[in-house]
């Protein structure tokens, strides 16, 4: 009986480790759009998944830690994320960056994401995608692509937007004196 429980425990830990070190279909699709379809070589890669259960455990642990209220707020908003960080062998040229832009755009459009923001400026490419369907305030999904020099970062995350927007808009209000933004964080 004890042996069976130990085996089950080891199995569960193995599953959690495996699930933490593998990413979902959206990240895999975007990664493949860049590394396979465009044949861009990658020197190293790190892929991590923060599953909701793990996030809850971390949040519970952090609730006892003396951390800044902003960090607590950010943790409260965070539900789970998958992150892929790829260090490319060489910095991409302008035409390659444009190709990355259109490949990822096409690939994610086929998976139900629509591009909300795209910025291509010098060596930097930033793209933010949101789901095509109606968005829920307390369970927002977003897919973010950041290409900066050698580094490609893909993030697919879910969370509660309310605390994050309060945090961001409040800070924006403080810095840019925007009355509407600042007032969102007043109470």
């Amino acid at each position: 009986m004890l042996a069976a429980l130990c085996l089950l425990g080891v199995g569960l830990i193995g599953l959690v480790v495996y699930r933490t070190l593998t990413v979902g279909g959206d990240i895999r699709a975007a990664r493949s759009a860049v590394l396979k379809d465009l044949n861009i070589k990658c020197a190293s890669k790190v892929e991590v998944t923060a599953h909701p259960l793990l996030v809850h455990l971390v949040r519970f642990g952090l609730s006892f830690a003396p951390i800044e209220p902003e960090a607590q707020l950010a943790m409260k908003a965070f539900r789970g994320a998958e992150v892929g960080v790829y260090q490319l062998r060489s910095s991409l040229g302008a035409s390659e960056r444009r190709a990355v832009f259109s490949q990822i755009d096409q690939r994610l459009a086929g998976r139900g994401w629509e591009r909300t923001v795209a910025v291509l400026d010098g060596d930097d490419l930033v793209m933010v995608f949101t789901p095509e369907k109606e968005l829920d305030l307390d369970d927002v999904a977003a897919f973010v692509v950041v290409l900066n020099g050698h580094d490609l970062v893909l993030v697919s995350g879910r969370g509660d937007l309310e605390p994050i927007v309060e945090l961001v808009t409040g800070k924006m209000g403080e810095h840019f004196s925007l009355p509407a933004f600042a007032s969102l964080n007043r109470n």
Binding site: A94, R97, R98, F101, S102, E114, R115, T116, V117, A118, V119, L120, D121, G122, T130, E132, K133, E134, L135, D136, L137, V140, L161, E162, V165, F176, S177, L178, P179, A180, F181, S183, L184, R186, N187
Partner: protein, 184 residues
């Protein structure tokens, strides 16, 4: 010969009618066309649709009901900033001219014109009677640096435009609001 052409004419007419009807569904929306990055030029595209706007409106509802009301009136916001390069300079300038000519003389009204040094700004609005603004279009050619296209679509009260500008400190919207107040 004429009879043989009839199905083609009918098909063409139905397609044309279909496309006109599609445009009529969202009266303040202007199709700037597809933009693609070229050369080393800057490229910014923001395309915010009603689902995201509704979500932000719901968020603002608790503390800023007025702002939430304004946001509920907006159905789409599109912003394109395209850096001008040797490859796209003439095409972008032609596209700005083409958008402006489409909006001139129809239901749209040019409310702001700025031609200063190498800056060329045109702001157009589409009114529904005197009660609502259905669309705002801003086109800018900033010298040889960039072309900017903005389209805000919705059902916005004229006095709310200035309020949005004041709330979010967006100078061009304040200017449009002032112009609209002068008109009334």
């Amino acid at each position: 010969m004429k009879l043989r052409l009839l199905p083609v004419i009918a098909l063409g007419a139905s397609l044309l009618t279909g496309s006109l009807l599609a445009d009529a569904k969202t009266p303040g929306m202007i199709d700037f066309g597809k933009f693609t990055p070229t050369g080393d030029g800057q490229f910014v595209e923001v395309d915010i649709k009603s689902n995201l706007i509704n979500m932000v409106a719901r968020l603002a509802e608790k503390q800023e009901p007025e702002v939430a009301k304004l946001l509920r009136g907006i159905t789409a916001v599109r912003v394109n900033v395209v850096g001008l390069t040797d490859e796209n300079r003439s095409e972008m300038k032609e596209r700005v001219a083409s958008v402006r000519s489409q909006l001139t003389g129809g239901e749209w009204e040019r409310v702001v014109t700025v031609k200063e040094r190498d800056q060329d700004v045109g702001v157009f609005i589409k009114l529904r009677g005197e009660e609502a603004v259905e669309g705002v279009v801003v086109t800018v050619i900033n010298g040889d640096k960039e072309a900017v296209f903005v389209n805000v679509v919705g059902d916005i009260k004229p006095e709310q435009i200035a309020k949005i500008g004041e709330s979010f400190n967006i100078e061009p919207l304040k200017e449009i609001g002032r112009k609209l107040e002068e008109k009334h």
